[in-house]
């Protein structure tokens, strides 16, 4: 069992039942970011038509910043990162208003 907190920021929560923070307990021994993202798509997106707000070509949609424990996932191995118990994974849409 892996406990992980997932956050959807910058307006992304609109496709996650308007809930910004989700505390998940996932029944797995090991969980990569790829696995977590698959889990999110299957379990957290209310309306399947909204998947392309989160994903594009099986990757995180351009314009969304992904963070592992407040650090850009590019510094942590991206899809290959092994999620640890207690991790906080955040996704934030980029705002453009000014």
């Amino acid at each position: 069992m892996i406990k992980v907190r997932v956050e959807f920021l910058g307006g992304l929560d609109v496709v996650f039942s308007k809930q910004r923070v989700h505390d998940l307990t996932i029944d797995a021994e090991e969980l990569s970011m790829q696995g977590l993202i698959d889990y999110i798509v299957q379990n957290l997106i209310t309306n399947k038509n909204d998947v392309d707000v989160f994903l594009e070509d099986d990757n995180i949609r351009p314009g969304i910043i992904t963070l592992i424990n407040d650090t850009d996932w590019e510094l942590e191995g991206e899809m290959e990162y092994e999620v640890c118990d207690g991790d906080v994974i955040s996704f934030t849409s980029t705002l453009h208003g000014g």
Partner: protein, 288 residues
Amino acid sequence: TTVQEYPLSLEEYRRYGRQMIVEDTGGVQGQVRLKNSKVLVVGAGGLGCPALPYLAGAGIGQIGIVDNDIVDTSNLHRQVLHDSTKVGMLKCESAKAVLNKLNPHVNVVTYPVRLNYSNAFDIFDGYDYVLDCTDTPLTRYLISDVAVNLGITVVSASGLGTEGQLTVLNFNNTGPCYRCFYPIPPNPMSVSSCQEGGVIGPCIGLVGTMMAVEAIKLIIGIYTPENFQPFLTLYSGFPQQTLRTFKMRGRQSKCICCGDNRSITRAAIESGEINYELFCGSRNYNVC
């Protein structure tokens, strides 16, 4: 020729005294740095309106304002540098009039044009820092691209609803640029579930004020090549006011603008070869 014995006039000492005694500003030396610096603010809207008077108040030597938009009543809840008597006036001219009265020591230059690939280099040239206070991905890519090519550091921010984001790009020509963070532009078709967004005035205002703090820190040398860490700060206004700072990737060697093989050159931009319009689409991206 007269020798300038004192770097600041008595009036300037009096005006800036309360900020010069803050140790971090470096006193007279810091004030002279502010006076000798030129800052370009692109956009005199929700972000530019609070950033501009604090930059002028602090005694930045030259402030440029790029905006071809005119003041509308619907702006005034958040664009509080303008007012109801200026509806219909160019925002850059409205802002200039306020700044001139606030601090006559500041040279305010206006550019009542829409920033685009053909005019950006001419406008940016000579400025030390650029504040990106615009509201579309198109201009965000363009500003970053032009700044990288001219060696200018950018303070970039945005906001919507009750939230905002802030970062510093191309710091010291070694920090990441906008394309390092966002190598692939957002696809206009993918944001279909997002509605047109509103905004709370002081929430976007707070982010614009943060931009002025960042600009002052850059000018007086608080950030150094040694201590600068790429970051993205998120502000939330509701339900609690919070700031969260994320540690971000450094400059990407594969970045097509600032990396090892650069295709986003001045020549490529100015020739119109980089099609910003097509590339970013034309939909409203405000929400996602």
